[in-house]
Each structure stands twice: as C-alpha cells, then as structure tokens.
Symmetry: C4
Subunit: 490 residues, 4 copies
C-alpha cells in the first residue's frame, strides 16, 4: 500500500477535497460527504487530519469496508510523518480526570444509581449526553422510573423461604435471572472496548445479551467474545435497503444469535435536546446565520438516518422468509399492537418506550403491561407469546413488579452502560449481582420460592395508570417568574 | 403647518395645559386627559416633552387621527430646537444590553422555551411583564401547560410512515399545519416593527394569522404586509360604541380578512399583578397617600377600558347584519356555551381561557375540549362548527393531543411574541418550523399519515380533568413560615 | 387615692408578695397569681414593675374591675417617682423598625398576601406567632387555602354584565358584600387601638363585623366605635361559669349586637407550636430542669383556660332563655352536626376549622360545604338555616366558589388583622376593597349579575374532597436525611 | 484467673491469632472469627486491643458466656499494663460534642420530631444511621408517615367532653394509653444503659413495653428494671436452631413476659444503605479490589444472620407446645395473612412493615388496617383477635386515626429511641406525655369521651390507599440532570 505523509494529507482539508486518516489509513471522503448519515460538518472538522478518535466510538471498525467502495482508501499514513497535535487540558477535562482518579471503590457501589452517579462524572460530556438524554422534555424518561413507584407490594409472610430459585427460560433459553441486557448503541463512548465488555459480563452472570445494530463493535467482535454455550439475541434497526437488512439478519443468525428483536418504535429517531445541545458547547453556530440554521442534531440523529420509516406488518412475512429464529417486536406500546403481534405469529414483544428517547408522553412499558396481558388473555393469545418489559428498571422490586404482572423478563440498558463506563466488566458484573441480591431478598420477604409464585395479587396497581403527578416540566419552570408579595426591602 | 419650538412646548406641562410631541407633531391633549383609556397620569408624565417612545408600543400610528378632533394638532416641532434628554443607563439596562449582545445563535433555539428564556432577558421589564403575566395567582396560566401533561399518547407501530401530510383547512382556507398565530396586543413592545413581523413569518410558513384589535400596527400596515394569497383572520374586541365596532369590522372585511374572531371572555380585563407591579418600580406611590390610592393598573387595563361588558348572544344577529365573513367566538369555556354558539350559527369556537390572563381558575382549553365535543355530538351539532384550542401549546405533542381530541387547529400567541422579540421574523419562522418538525416526527412515531388518522383512542385522558396537583400558590408559600424542629444551635 | 412610689412598688417583687403597676394604678396580685389564666410566671416577670405594656394587648381595659375584688387596687403610682427602664434595641428590633420605616405604600398592596407579607415584618415576633400559627403540623391551616384551589370555575360568556350587584342579606341584615369580619382575639397585638379599627373599617365598607369575646378592646369600646345603623354580631366563648356567660350575652344583646355566634370547636384550645416556641426565645427553660418541665404554652393557652368543655346540645335551650337574637354555631365540621343544628333551630352555622388552629387534619370549611348542603336538602332543612364558611379566603374567586356551593357569606379573620397591623383602618378598608374589586370582576367574567346567579354548576368540585396532595410535613422533612448516591468527591 | 499484660495481648493481632479484651477479660477469638454474625473484619479491627467500646452497644453482656465455649476466655488483663490510646477528636466529634453541650432544654421539646432532630445531632453517625435508616430508597419508611396524612378527621361538636378516659386493655392487660413501646435493637447505641431506660419510662407512664430479642441489655437486666405489676411483652426473632428459640421463649415466659410477639416479616434482614454506607466513611474498601468486593453490610446484617427463613404457619403448633402466653404475629401485611393468623388461633397481629426497614414498597400498617378489619369481619373473626399497628406514629392524631379504623393500640419504636438518646428516661417520659396530651386534646376536639366512641365514620379515608404522591426518589433526582433552556450567559 502507498505511504502518504501527514503533510500531504493536511492539504486536502476542504469540502471539495477532503481526506482523513482513520486507523492509519488515508481515505478520500470528498464524494461521500453529502451521504454521510451524521452530516458532512462532522467530517469536515477532521479534514486533513487524523479522525480515528472521533470515528471510533460511533462506528464499528468494519463499516468503511462494508459500505464504501475500495477506491476511497488511498493508502497508509507514513508513520514517520504523523503529527499529533497536543490537546490542551480544559477545566472540564481536569475535573473529569480528578473524578476518574478519585473514583469510589467498586465495593462502595450499593445500587444502580451509584454507578450512574459515577458515570456522570467520568464520561465525556458527549457520551453522558448521548447515554442519559431522552426525548423532548424527558417526561417519558422520568415516567419510566416513576411508574414503578406507583406499584406497591403485598408480601405474604410465614412461608418457608430457605430456598429461592430465580432462574427462568427466555424463548426457551436458560437464564439465571429474569433479566437480559438490552441493545444500546455506541458502547465505545463509555469504554474503549465497547460492547464486548457487556458480552463477557453477561456470560459471567449467566444472563442473555441482546446485541445492538448500532454497536461500536462489529458483530464478529461481539460474537467472538462470547463464552461457552452463551446465548445472544440480536436487535435490528430495519434498513431502507432490504438487501442490507437481509445481509445483517443472516449474518446474525449465521453467527449463532438465537432471536431477532426488531425495533418498531423508531421509524424516525426522537429529538434528544441534551444530546443536541452538547454540540454547541465547543462549536456555537454563527450568531448571524439566522436563515441558514445549523442542522447538527446530536449523536442520535447522526447514526440513524438509514432507518426505514416504511416498516409495517406486511414485512413480517418477508422476515420469516429470510430467518428461522424467533422474531420479537421491540417497542410495542398498546394492547392493540400486542394482539396484532401475536396474531402475526411473533414469538415475543418488548413493551417499551425506548427508554423515553423516542416519543415524549409515551407511557412506560410497565404501565402498558396490565392492559396487554388482559387483551391477550381475552383473545386467547396469552400463551402464544412472551412479554418483556424495559425502561426504568433500577431495583429488584421493579423486576418483582414486572414478573407479578405477567412479564417473562425485563431488559436493562443504560445501567449496564453506566456500570461499564465506570468500572468495566467488573462493574457490569457487580451491577447485575446487586440486582440479583436485591431480587433474592425480595422473593424471601414476599414469601415466594420461585418465579411462578409471584402472582398479580401480590402487587397493588390501583394508581399505576394515573397521570396526576407528572414529571416536572423543567424548561417551563426555569422560564416562569414566580410571584412574590410586595414587602419592605431590608 | 406651524412650527413650534421645544422651549414653547415645554411650558405646557400641567394638567390644565398639557401639550406633547408625537412623531414630530405637537398636540394639545388638555381636554382629552380625562377620557384617555390609559388614565391621565401616564400622559402627564410626558407633558411638555416628546412622548413618541412611550406612545409607539401602545398605539397604532393612526389612532389620533381616527379618534381625536383635528384641532388637537397644533403644528410641527421646530427640528432645530428639539432637545433630547440623554437617558442614563441603569444597572438593569446594562444587563439587558449585555443579554442582547450575547444572545445565543438562532440555531441554538431548539424549542419554544428557549425563545421565552431569551425574550425574558432582552425585553424591557414592562414588555416582559405585559406579555408573560396572567390573572391573580397565575394558576390558570400555568394550568394551561400542565393540563397537556396529564394527557398521554398511545402510539401505534408497524405502519408505513414514509409520507406524512400535516396540512389542513381552517374555515375552508388551506394551512400547511393545524396551527394559527393568535391575536396578541402591543407587538411593538417586543419588536420595533410590531405585528407585521408575524404577518411576514406566517406567510413564509404558510399558516394563518389572526390580526388583533389592540395591535401596535394599524390594520392597514398589517394588511399591506401580507403575501400573495395569504389568509388573515381578524380578532375583535367589541367596542361599547357600536358605530366604532361596525367601522372596525367592515374595515377588516374590506381589507380582506376572512373571518371574525369575537373575543367573548373579556367583558372586563383581568387583573395581572406582575403587569401592575412593574409600574411601581420607577414610580412608587406616595407612602403617605393612604386614602387616595394609586389606580395605575398596568398596560392591560390601560388599553381595554373601551370593551363592552354588555355584549351578549342577541348581538350576534347584528354582527351577521354588518359582515358576511364567518363568525367565531373566542373564549368559550363550557359545553353549554359551545352548544349555544352552534345553535346561534357561529362557524367556529375557540376554547380558551385567554392565556390564563382573565379569570384565574378557569380551566384550560384542552381540558374543556372533550366535554365540548361530547355535548356537540349529543346535540348533533359537531359537524356544524369548527373547534380550536389555545393556551399552553409549546410542543408538537400538545398539537397532536388537541387534534386527537377533536380540535381543528390550535392557536399560539406568546411563543410567537417571544420569538419575534428575540430574533425578529427569522425567529418566528424558526419557532413555527420547530413545531412542524416536532409534529411531523410525532405523527411518524404515532403511526399516522394524515391528521384524520389522529384518533381519540390514541390519547389517554383518564386524568385530564383531575385538579389534584394544582399549580403552586407562590404568594402563599412566600409568606408562610415553615415549621422547624428545635435543635442545638451550632 | 393613695399615691405609692415606684421604689415602694419595686420591693414587692416575689411570688408571695407581688405588686404591679397597670395604667398608673398599683395592684397587689399575690392572691390572684394561682388563678391567672395565663399562668403566674408571666405576672411574676413584671413583679414590682410597670406591667402596662405587657397587659394591654392581652386584656380589655375593664377586665380587672370586672373580675377582681376592688381591694386588689392599692392606689396610684406617684408620677414623680416612676422609673422607666430604657430598653435596649436588639438586632431584631432594628430590623423590625427598618421594615416599618420602609413599608411599601398602601397603593402597592394588590392582594391580601401583600398585607400578610408586610405584617410578618412589622409585627412583634410574639404577635406574628400568635396570629399566624396553626395547630400541630399546620396541615389544616394550609389545607384551608389549598382546598379552594381544588375547585375550578366554569364561567359563562355572552351575557350582559354591565350591571353587577354583589349585595346580600345576612340573617336579614343588609351587607354590601357576602363577606363579614370574623372574630379574632388580641387585636392590640397588631394595632394600639385594637378591634375598634376593624369596626370603623367595616362601617366604611358597609359590611358586618363579628365582635370577639377575647378582644383587646372592651365590648363598650367596640360598640361605641360603630357608625350609624352599623350591624355587629357577637362571638361567644362559653364560660364554665354560666352566670358570667349570661352576663356577657346579655351585655352584647343590650349593646345592640344582632346575633350570637357560639364557638363550638374549642372545648379545649389547640396546640400552636409556633406560638409556644416564641416564648423560649427570650426565656429558655432551665436546661437542667428536666423533671419540672416548663408549662408555658403561648398566648393561645393563656387566654382560654376558662372555656367550658361541657358545652353541649342541651345547652341551646338555656341560651334561648337568655337571649332573643339569632343563634349561630361557629365551627360545625360535619353534615351530621349541621343537621342537628338545624333541628335544634339554630338560625345559622359557620363551617370552619377555626382557621386551622384547633384540630389538625380537620377538613376545611369549603370542603365540608357540599356535604352539608346535600344533607340539609335531604332532610328538607336547607331553607331553615343560613350557612357561612370561613378559613383560607384570600381571593375573590374563593368567595365565588363558596357562594356557588351554597354559602350565604364567608368570614375572614387573619387578613383583616394583617391589614390593620400594617396600615391601620385604611389598610383594612383597602383589603376589603381589593376583594370587592376582584369579586365584581369575577362576577363579570363568569357571566353573572347577582349572587343568586352563581350556581353550583359554575364550579367543578370533582377533586375537592381528595386528600392526595397534602400540605407538606415540614417537621418530618427537616429531620429526614436524604439519600445520595456515592460518587467521586471533587 | 490468669493475669495477661496488654503488651502480650497486642502481639495476637492477626487473623490466625486474634485476641481481644472485653470488659477486662482476654478472649482468643481466632476460631470464632468465621462464625461471627457480624463478619470477621469488625473483630480484626480490634485484634490485640480493648474491644469493649465496640462490643457493648451491639451485644448483651452475657452473650459470650451463653454462646461461646468457656476456653475462649484466657484470663484477665493486668490492670497495671493496660494502655489506653488517646483518641483524637475529629471535626465531626467536636460538632457532636457541641451539640450535646448546647442541647435545648427538655421543656423545649414540643413534639416527637424535636427529639428526632436533637438525636440526629447527639448520636454517633453509626447509631444515627442504624436507627434512622430504611430499606432501599426508603419509600416505605417515608410512606409510613405520609399514609397517616391521607386520613382526615370528622370531629363532632357540642358534646360534653369535660371527662376523657384514654385507658384501655391490651391482651387483657391495663394500659393508661392505647400505645406500647415496640421492640427495637441495639439500645446502647443511643444510651449507655440501653433498653432498661425504656422499661423504667414505660412504668412511669403506665404503658406496656415489648422487649426485643436483639436488645443491648440482657433479658435479666430488662426484667429486673421493671416496676411493680409492670406488664412486659417479648418480641422474638426465631432462631434457626429451635433449641435456642425454645430456651429464649421459655426464659421470657419464665421471667414474666405476658405475650410473645413473633416477628414474621424478616426471614432475611432488609438492605439499609445508609447503615451500609456509614462503614465506608472510616474505612473505604480498597479501590483496586474490584473482584473481591467488600461484603461489610452495616449493623443490621451483622446482628441478624441467625434468623430462620424457614419459619412458617406449621411452626405455630410447636410454639403453642412450648409456651402458654398469647402469641401475636408482628409484621402482617395483607388481609389474607390476617385471616390465616386468626384461623391459626393467634391472639393478636401487628400490622407493620417493620418501620420501612425490610421490603421497600411494602404498604404502611395504617393503610392495611381497613382491608384487614373488613376481611376479618367477613370471616366472623374480628372479635377473635386484637389488631395493633406500628410505623409512622408521631402525633396524637395518628393514634386517633388508628383507633377509629379498628386498632386496639399502636406501637412506637424510633421515637422512644430518639427521646432516650437525647434526654434519657426523662426524655422518654416526656415524649409519651406529649402524645398523651395531644391525644387527650384530640378526643375533646373530636367530641369523644372514651376510646369506644372513636368510630370509623370519624375519619375520612377516601384516599388512604392512593399511591399517587409517592415519597421522592432521591437517588434518581440526584443523578438526573435537569433540562435548562438556552439563554444569554451573563
């Protein structure tokens, strides 16, 4: 391969002549600029320079080979010439480095919120914004936690609870615990190794991981990280180009993924304003540019432009034709669609509002669960389909509530990212262990020995569907001027 | 015209001899003082001086010619003599100027609250108080936003939403979006050009504007600002003098306004204490004047003394006799009055509590909507009349909720004023564009292709009419002394 | 009368030899000490000194002559000897004096909360504590305001409201407004002239005042202050000694009081901890005195020890035998007791929890109103008895709500004390005028011309009796340690 | 006994050679280390040193003789050699000492929250954490207080309440007041004398005390502290070793305890994170020790490892065979289990969630009460069993509410600990006296003369079982980043 000097690359730094260095290779991205899902601006910022650090957390390593023609690769950077610009450490960087240095011991992490608190300190602002943000006013984001708090427990006493078994089967596959790691994007924003860290921790804890389409790691990397007999599922964003979709699905099945979770709540990706705002900190849009408004819309939009808004029920037949693994619809939000999914023969559904990241004021998965169970029962379909719930699970009691109301298992996403970002694989293992410890205790305190004993009458859901105390409207309250009485000024 | 020196004018500065300069002309307002709707005090403050700056935001330019006899105009100011007093810049002015200077870029405005936040910084205290204030404890003001938050969305998935059409017809006129700009008073408080800025932005966004009776611009100015085929409606405060009312209505129709929105919720203008208090900052009433209490009541009262409290259902016949455009009643607040409006043959109603500026504890328009739809349906009148809602609309989800519950369109008022005050026409355009972007996304995420697909069953209104979590009583909480336990003082 | 020197008085400063000077007279209170309703400690603090300043706000001037034997008066103080100790001005005094000096102009008072805010600054801590405190955790105190906020208004539009009449009759007596000044104790704590200030303001505003048993002024003083044809009612705490009670009732009737309001919610006076605590500021109990606990219980207990806990329904016959004016029971709190009152022939009842000062968690008068109206209607007694409501009335909307639900009038107590304490008679007049202005406006905005037009269907009471959002438990929240996640210490 | 020098003891300071000094005796605990319920770490911290100060608050004095073989005692410390290391006073210690020095006078304590506030200042952080903490997010802990606030009172008036009798019988034993002191562990953390302080105060106030299994005092000490005819009950944690259990029960009965309260809500002890975290302050776990996670779990876990998770209904027959006193189940949380308890012939049940220390989201005892009463009534069992309630009782109104809903008496735990920790026996007496004073007043204000008069219709429980306003999720809100609008930075 041709060796190219850093000085040579540096000359190609314009919109109509744009080279970048990624992992030691030099690419001419001039023609690709207008097609880049993340917009051309983000590439132009790196034009003529080494873009590896910006590229890595957002893209799997094999993406260029997969999607771009080979001729974009012009050669390799001449290692003797490469010039690394020394970055200055800002006040914010210093604070973050101090937080990393003074990180509490892993043993001090007593619950999932502790991990989130540490993650908020040790992550870059961009990563924290991408992971933690929700749609619009983040009402649904917070509602996901609040909804669990409207369910109370009716524990039974005086039962022998020496032995407690919390293992289960999900789509027929054994799990030590009715919980799986749900798919989340851009793992390398939180940990240099990305999603494989979760894969390894899932193996250690004997639970199932759902691999994401938008992983920072390649499918191969994730599948290669798995342990003996470890079960993996695959989450799919349906690409408008159905050939691409077919290739992805068949690769996943071929690599041994045991189920296909098709995301159905994201025909367009939600607006996450925290994620969008973090862009403006380094690079405020031109104040005078009032007519040519900046369209930079955060990490979420950057990675999602390919998602097919045309996906519909009729497509299920085609999916059946290209894969033989069970199909689960992720993002069902009404009893009506749950019944349709069962009628279309789906093996499972995930009741979810996408972690509050898509449609604000979408109800939480746990709230939807009773209406779904009732509708399926009424149609005689309850035993045809497994129901999972995600969104807001942070405590063993949350899992207990979901199981009591008819869920087969719950998914968690952000908590594992936060644990991974703070303490790597050991962090993820401990986070799951804490949930297991809590859940085991709760089973004892509630007087049950196995999951089947956790019955609907053990939870009080009188107010579950009451939307009276709604998460606070922070934007409104920030701009509202409070009334104050007139008094003497002292 | 006679030239008069500034020195000459300055001598006439008393209640029984009161001249002022407005736009270079000298007026003798001595006899008009007791009739001035805003009270004589506000004129006397300017007696013998140039009152243009105080006059402009409150009055359309043609008001003196229209309502006062020609002899009040004594002549023109001799331009060689005019003395401008140099105003000192206060700390508050400095802060405001700094806020203007450091205004975020328009591209950083991601939602309507951002515009409001900037407007609160760049507006004069008087303008901010007039625009943002509500009646009494501002319970209804805040309830307008809160009520939307008690409605949750039941989105459908797996529907082809590649194409989404959000256009509609309002009273038969095309609109790109089920939203119109509602009438608001005193636009020049926020922008030197006043309401015409909104007219131009409405044209760009292809939506309808409702012109206000109490505009700072004259009707001619607003109508002249309109684009090709642009549709305008006209909002009417009914004047006690029905000849004046007739003149106004016929002028509006003559200039091409396509509908008459008669305000029915303001037989007397509400008390807005923030607006009233702002007066006392510059000019505290005499502390010893306990029996002759200051009656200065803010901008709202100043501009409204002419409104006819005698307006009633029987007047509708007369309105039909003087105009042929559709008649819409703005400010309906019960099912009973909605049914009456339909029976009286009105073409539309606006469910509204006047932005929380009139009767505190009036319910929000969105809360009233279901009871109105049900009553009209019961009477077989639902297809006879269009229903609009205003008050508290800030997000695309709010519009979705109103449409789902049966509204034809929603109106926004303050948000366009805030956008205009912060960034002029481009601001207003962006504000509307943001709502369009949000709404289009929500239609996709909810699985609908056109407005008719947005059905009542897509929203959960179980708690819409629950008044349990009421907006905070700030005056009470400010004067209440919290209890604290006795402990050691350290 | 014998002249006694200050030096002589100063020698009698012990429990077994206790003289005090009041209004220039010297009294030997040694034998009265154990019987003093306020406890002997408070007298002993003044032993040998001039007690006038401490005596005045708590006692009517004629109380000693009325209740003590003439021989306790030993003579007059020799004016040439009297020694006034110069009091040092504390930081707190300075602050209070500054607040008085910088008091806003009366014209700046825009609502009743403004008066309360000023009163909290200009009153002595003791007076503020006595006036503002409530029972226990002050839940009922705050609930009184909150309950009104759970009622929303359904205003009607398009009605001719040029003319609005808000006059009414209470027990057959004309009032310009459906509001009376309720009885409150110790007026001189707030104003040197005491309750007569309220009497004069009530005359000016043409409303009725209810005179308190525990006034600082004597009955004669209050009655003498009344204007031509002014109507006064009399509030009665029933004394255990029925001869005393009879004397009081017949004096009130004799002086022209037109109705007897018997307080029935205070067989024992409530615990008001703010009032009790204020004692400890100047005079903390001995820290080592753990077994002989200080029983000083604030102003409330001091003035109430005579109230008869034996008062019961059978006593009504006796009251009828000693007076011919209408009898109203003040403090009814259930439908059951309202029905009993009507059956016993009472002319009226006041639904009240005594301003939240007696039983904490007693419901507010406004909440009780619908259940009372319904029960009386069911028994066919609704037209036999007038119903009044007090507690928490601060706005014209509150009055509107009470009238709509069936009240004949509402009472206010603290607001007039606050207005009196801040601005004297002019303040009280303005406070009432503000309520009248608000109420008149609300009648217009609600589309009514007279009180009879204010109908139950004009208010929405769906959640009135919901106790879900309860006033905050401040004592609890002050001692509760919030949970915080573990993170890096920076 | 052999005398051993401090220098000699000091050498045995390792895991495989571990001596400690307790009350002047030297013990070799090397073999006992792995069996210590509190974990070996806490002993190793004292290895080679005098452990008395750490031992005392956690263990009754006779525990070593009872449970360890005699040979662990090696001899006595040679008093001439003992070396006391002078402890340095930290900032925290200084603050605590200052708080103790400046403690308010006992007479200033006006309610139970005052005692709690003082206790939070004068207790060691470890004691405060152990006493005040609750399970998980402490939702149930706070709910216990909140639930009482959702009950409102319907007082009756015009009843002769001169005489009020608040005495009752509990399991046939006289009590001056429907309240008992419930069992709580580790009294010496709060007061050097421990639980006997409570015993003495209970005697003075003529109420019943329930002695705890996990007392710091021995059973003998507590029983010896009792006064003439004083009634004591005994609380039992069932030991896995039933011989131990039998010995304990028979000892309690033998010493005169009149009832056996078997704790049934603690098959495993709850997670109390405040209690767990306090450990890390002095001794943070090794930051690098990510795989060998610190298992130190606070005082709660340390003392509870022996509790039998196998306890079940069938065991009741065995309990009947070993004791003749009434059996009460403490920790019933559903109507179902209440009915079972009655059917199994238990004499009483305590509705309780263990002070919110066990299962978070368990409902409060007071909420469960109506469902239990209804179920027992339906089964005809209501008169077969007495019902008690504990959790959150802080005011006389709370007791009134419980009695009205059918409780025979209420228990309090933490409040007596706080009173004891702050002011010793006098504090406990005053705390109970304050409750009595409040309750007596409430009986008067509610119009009742004896406990039987307190009827269900005197309380309004419409919203008692509504879980809409749930205690705040502090961990969540601490890590959640609030949204703020973009504005000019000033």
């Amino acid at each position: 391969m041709r060796l190219i000097s850093a000085q040579e690359v540096a000359k190609h730094n314009k919109r109509n002549d744009c080279w970048v260095i990624i992992h030691g290779k030099v690419y001419d991205l001039t023609n690709f600029l207008p097609e880049h899902p993340g917009g051309e601006k983000v590439i132009l910022k790196q034009a003529g320079e080494d873009a590896t650090q910006a590229f890595d957390p957002i893209h799997p390593p094999d993406i260029i080979q997969k999607y771009l023609p080979p001729e974009v690769c012009l050669g390799e950077i001449d290692p003797t010439t490469s010039v690394k610009t020394s970055k200055v450490e800002t006040e914010k960087d210093k604070r973050r480095n101090l937080a990393i240095e003074r990180k509490p011991a892993l043993g001090e992490m007593l619950n999932l919120y502790d991990f989130e608190a540490v993650a908020s300190q040790v992550l870059t602002p961009e990563a924290w914004a991408y992971y933690s943000s929700g749609a619009d006013d983040e009402i649904s984001l917070r509602e996901n936690t609040d909804a669990f708090h409207r369910i109370w427990i009716r524990p039974r006493v005086m039962r022998n609870v020496k032995n407690v078994d919390m293992s289960t089967k999900i789509l027929g596959y054994h799990s030590s615990f009715p919980l799986y790691i749900s798919a989340t994007a851009l793992g390398k924003l939180g940990h240099p190794e990305g999603e494989v860290v979760l894969t390894r921790a899932a193996f250690k804890q004997n639970i199932i991981q759902m691999l994401p389409t938008l992983a920072s790691c390649s499918l191969d990397e994730m599948v290669n990280a798995k342990g003996k007999d470890q079960v993996l599922f695959f989450q799919l964003y349906v690409n408008s180009d159905r050939n691409v979709t077919k290739k992805i699905v068949q690769a996943a099945e071929g690599k041994g993924c045991k189920a296909l979770f098709i995301t159905v709540d994201a025909p367009q990706l939600g607006r996450r304003e925290k994620d969008m705002r973090v862009k403006f900190v380094d690079e405020p849009p031109d104040v005078h540019d009032e007519h040519n408004v900046n369209r930079n819309q955060g990490a979420a939009r950057a990675i999602s432009s390919f998602i097919d808004p045309g996906l519909n029920w009729a497509d299920l037949e085609w999916f059946r034709s290209i894969t033989s693994v069970p199909i689960v619809l992720k993002g069902i939000q009404t009893a009506e669609d749950a019944v349709l999914a069962a009628k279309y023969g789906c093996e499972g559904i995930v009741l979810s509002n996408h972690g509050g990241r898509q449609l604000d004021f979408a109800r939480s998965g746990i709230e939807i669960l009773p209406e779904v169970v009732e509708a399926l029962k009424k149609e005689g379909l309850l035993n045809k389909i497994e129901i999972y719930v995600d969104g807001g699970v942070r405590r063993g009691t949350d899992i207990f509530k979901a199981i009591a109301l008819g869920a087969k298992a719950v998914g968690i996403g952000r908590p594992t990212l936060y644990a991974m970002s703070s303490y790597g694989q050991a962090g993820v293992e401990r986070a799951i262990q804490l949930l297991k410890d809590e859940f085991e205790m709760i089973m004892r305190l509630a007087g049950v020995n196995k999951l089947e004993d956790i019955r609907p009458e053990m939870v009080d859901i009188k107010n579950l569907s009451d939307h009276i105390l709604v998460p606070k409207n922070y934007l409104f309250s920030d701009v509202y001027n409070k009334l104050i009485p007139t008094k003497s000024k002292l």
